[in-house]
């Protein structure tokens, strides 16, 4: 009989032997586990590459009419040599538009514009909206009433109608379109921010800050804001898709990007009457729009699932 020595459990793992995963790394792991989010990211990555390398990928100048340069007809369909188009004809992947310009090159350059519109206008809306919402939620009282009352008024108008009204006043053009779409998206972000701030305001760590007399500004921007960003990021990603669609709609109506700028919405708008005689002029820009919006929506959905605290188990 031997007394077994009480050996220390040599292989006991300390509970915290690895650095705990933070919110963001967990979120990314969850994000990469979702197939739809990955597809969204691939689409967007491709789109961003196209936008950056548009001058390299394009075969023609997107604003240059090919009348008198090549022997081509306006609104000619696609001609791709390895798909059987005779090699003595000039190659145009997506065909030519009504002004005898290469549609493929125009769509590539259009990606730049759409991404720019989406990101800039949503960025603008998030900055202003988050600021207003944070102030509103943190201050409460009449400030809250005033800001949220204004936001409610803006929400009462259909966003596209309000954007059209703003562009009509400011005059058509790309910059004014950006501004108009930015302005009409503000209320959504302000409301989301306000509700997050209202919830976080009651948390113990904020109470603690208050009790030791941390200045309001530091509490709001130092402690509350960073913790309230999650829903804003999700909404912002989805919002880019909406902004791109709104910009395309404005351009379709002739209020957005001005000719000869290649913009998908205005490309569709200008050729809308050729939908039966030259369908490629509608299909290709329309498809580019669909793909972009799909990309942002898939990524946004994935982000929402990944960042949602309640779903974490």
């Amino acid at each position: 009989m031997s007394v077994t020595a009480a050996t220390a459990p040599a292989s006991v793992e300390p509970i915290f032997n690895t650095k705990p995963r933070g919110l963001w790394s967990t979120a990314f792991r969850r994000l990469f586990r979702r197939r739809s989010a990955i597809i969204g990211m691939i689409i967007l990555a491709a789109l961003i590459l196209v936008a950056i390398f548009a001058p390299v990928l394009a075969t023609h100048d997107p604003t240059k009419s090919l009348i008198g340069i090549e022997n081509v007809q306006k609104r000619q369909g696609p001609c791709i040599h390895w798909l059987g188009c005779p090699s003595d004809q000039p190659q145009h992947y997506f065909g030519l538009d009504g002004n005898v310009r290469d549609l493929y090159s125009r769509i590539l350059f259009g990606a730049r514009l759409s991404l720019l519109v989406g990101i800039v206008s949503v960025g603008f809306a998030i900055v202003i909206g988050a600021f207003l919402g944070a102030i509103s939620g943190y201050m409460g009282g009449w400030t809250d009433n005033l800001i949220m009352g204004l936001m409610d008024i803006m929400l009462a108008f259909p966003s596209l109608i309000l954007a059209i009204a703003i562009v009509t006043v400011l005059g058509p053009g790309l910059l004014n379109t950006l501004l108009a779409i930015g302005i009409v998206s503000i209320p959504v972000y302000a409301r989301i921010m306000r509700s997050s701030v209202l919830a976080i305001k009651q948390q113990d760590y904020v109470m603690a800050d208050r009790s030791i007399g941390v200045p309001s500004g530091r509490i709001l921007f130092g402690n509350i804001l960073p913790n309230a960003l999650t829903p804003l990021i999700v909404q912002g990603t989805l919002g880019i898709a909406v902004a791109i669609l709104d910009a395309a709609a404005l351009s379709f109506l002739g209020l957005g990007a001005q000719p000869p700028t290649p913009e998908w919405g205005s490309m569709i708008g200008q050729e809308r009457n050729q939908v039966f005689t030259a369908p490629h002029l509608i299909i290709f820009p329309g498809f580019a729009l669909i793909l972009t919006v799909l990309g942002f929506n898939l990524l946004g959905d994935g982000l929402r699932d990944a960042l949602d605290v309640r779903q974490r188990s």
């Binding site: 604003t63 240059k64 009419s65 009348i67 008198g68 306006k74 609104r75 009504g98 002004n99 005898v100 009449w142 009433n145 005033l146 009352g149 204004l150 409610d152 008024i153 058509p172 002739g254 001005q258 000719p259 000869p260 200008q270 809308r272 009457n273 050729q274 939908v275 039966f276 005689t277 030259a278």
Partner: protein
């Protein structure tokens, strides 16, 4: 608390919106009709003995063509002119000078109901105008002439050429106006459809206003005339049947100068001149147009972008500005467009005065800035000679002077047309856009549905200038004379015969007996006098109209009497 603030801010915003919308409407309202009316002995002629109306200008210094209009007897009207006018019958036949019932004119006050519910003598009478949707006409059973073939006529409109074609192919309409240029081949290949072409009795031009620098410099305007490749525009963006314009006048209309050529396309020379004049480098301008399809411009957006590209080739940066149709025409007429503007003109009646006097005569609008006195003189000489062979040299001179001064760059005479179902008998497209649907038989059906480009703004065509409105008026209203469908020759209508003195200054019209207006009134000479006087006399209490501009009257007859300063 929150609610009240919310309500308050709502009210504030609402107030701002309403205020902002209401403000611009003020100056655009019809001018006040407070001017003296003593010159108008216009009294209603109630049942009883005929009391002839008349109206005379004190003298001809007011600048217009009319000296007097009088009812000689119940069925005779006499016009006395300040100058001879060989084109007078052609002008009188125009649908802006349709005859209204005098009592109806007075009952409506010269506006209001008159615009919504026209009361004419034509083969159709208006049943209902559903704003934004359609206009329904019905056969006038008491029509003095050949009764209309279709029992019901419906006017609809759509700005999109693709939609018009789809409706025609689907059979929901019997005829459409202005098919898209690319659709001509589709229609010709379809056995269920027929295409009726219009020859290009129109002109598409790029206008410049000589009150804005650098367009005040004639050499600069000439340089721009060399910088635009008109052949390229016509070849690429116009349907078959169009031609490159060498001058403002279309070839088939009297006043065209045979053999006149425009500046040759020469971008290098243009660039050189512009550099010499200090315009280049660094000239930025605008190209303004309205996004509506007209016979002279079937593809406005694409043509605008091509002109933009052509200007970019010589180093001119042009921004494209699209304006609403009405606002664009107003801005152009007031001379408010500083850059290039793309506009056109279709013939209303086949004579040089309709083109040249309207645009370059003394009474012309400020579209091209200040007029050119040497062109005025040539046009005045041409308009006052009696014989065509005496007139032609003056129009040759005017066309030559227009080439020299370049108030605009003539680009194209656009061929266009209308398309009908194959079973429509008698389908035709009028060169001047004045189709008479009463003459068409839609395959035995009792309703003819016509789909045009746009909705008429009003149906009192004295105060309309858009062809979309004029065509609708022409189904209901009639003038003293009319244009023969197809040829455009002047023929009898409400007047059965017309005579002039040797100097062509006194014109006497004999009215047709027994013509009834749709409201039952009988046509007499006073109806004719009052219909003209309310247009002619700007101080007349019935000179109201839709917006009060009455564009055609001063354009064709020199000017208003008692015009406000």
């Amino acid at each position: 608390m929150r609610k009240s603030i919310f309500l308050l801010s709502m009210l504030l915003i609402l107030g701002l919106v309403v205020g902002g919308c209401a403000a611009p409407a003020g100056p655009g309202a019809a001018p006040d009709q407070s001017a003296a009316t003593e010159a108008a002995p216009a009294e209603a002629a109630p049942a009883g003995p005929f009391e002839p109306m008349s109206m005379a200008a004190e003298n001809c210094d007011y600048g217009g063509l009319f000296k007097s209009i009088e009812a000689v007897d119940q069925m005779t009207v006499k016009f006395t002119l300040c100058q001879p006018d060989p084109a007078f019958p052609a002008k009188v036949a125009f649908s802006s000078f349709a005859i209204n019932d005098a009592d109806y004119l007075q009952a409506t006050g010269g506006g209001g109901e008159l615009i919504e519910k026209p009361n004419g003598t034509g083969p159709y009478k208006l049943v209902d105008w559903l704003r934004g949707d359609q206009i329904i006409f019905e056969r006038n059973e008491e029509y003095w002439g050949e009764p209309a073939i279709p029992q019901t006529l419906v006017f609809r409109w759509s700005a999109e050429s693709a939609q018009r074609l789809v409706e025609l192919q689907a059979g929901t309409v019997d005829g459409i106006d202005n098919p898209g240029p690319d659709d001509f081949a589709v229609i010709e290949a379809d056995p269920n459809l027929q295409l009726a072409k219009r020859s290009g009795t129109n002109i598409f031009y790029i206008g410049m206003n000589n009150t804005y620098p650098p367009f005040d410099n004639e050499r600069v305007r000439q340089a721009f005339a060399m910088a635009i490749d008109r052949q390229r525009i016509v070849d690429n963006f116009y349907p078959a049947g169009s031609s490159v314009a060498t001058q403002f006048m279309p070839p088939s209309i009297f006043g065209y100068t045979d053999g006149l050529t425009w500046y040759d396309y020469n971008p290098d020379e243009a660039k050189k001149i512009l550099e010499e004049e200090g315009v280049l480098p660094g000239f930025k301008t605008t190209i303004t147009y309205r996004d509506v399809v007209r016979g002279y411009l079937p593809n406005p957006g694409v043509v605008a972008q091509d002109i933009q590209a052509q200007l970019a080739d010589i180093g001119v940066e042009a921004e494209i500005v699209v304006m609403e149709s009405g606002a664009f025409l107003d801005a152009a007429d007031r001379g408010e467009i500083a850059g290039f503007h793309m506009l056109g003109w279709g013939a209303d009646y086949p004579d040089a005065t309709n083109f040249l006097d309207f645009h370059f005569g003394k009474g012309a609008s400020a579209q091209f800035g200040n007029g050119f006195p040497d062109i005025w003189d040539a046009l005045n000489e041409g308009a006052t000679k009696a014989k065509p062979e005496d007139r032609q040299p003056w129009y040759d001179k005017a066309n030559e002077l227009i080439k020299q001064h370049v108030p605009m760059i003539p680009v194209a005479h656009g061929g266009n047309g209308a398309a009908f179902k194959a079973d429509v008998e008698g389908a035709y497209a009028s060169d001047i856009g004045a189709e008479q649907f009463a003459l068409m038989n839609p395959g035995g059906r009792d309703t003819f549905v016509w789909l045009q480009n746009g909705e008429p703004a009003g149906l009192y065509c004295a105060d309309e200038s858009d062809g979309e409105a004029l065509r609708a008026c022409e189904q209901v209203m009639q003038s003293l004379l009319a244009y023969e469908p197809g040829t455009g020759d002047v023929v009898a209508s409400l007047a059965t015969e017309w005579t002039a003195n040797d100097e062509l200054t006194e014109w006497v019209f004999k009215l047709r007996e027994g013509v009834k207006f749709h409201n039952g009134a009988t046509l007499d000479a006073n109806d004719v006098v009052l219909s003209y006087v309310v247009q002619w006399d700007a101080s007349h209490p019935l000179h109201v109209g839709r917006d009060g501009s009455f564009t055609y009257f001063p354009g064709l007859f020199g000017g208003f009497l008692n015009a406000p300063e």
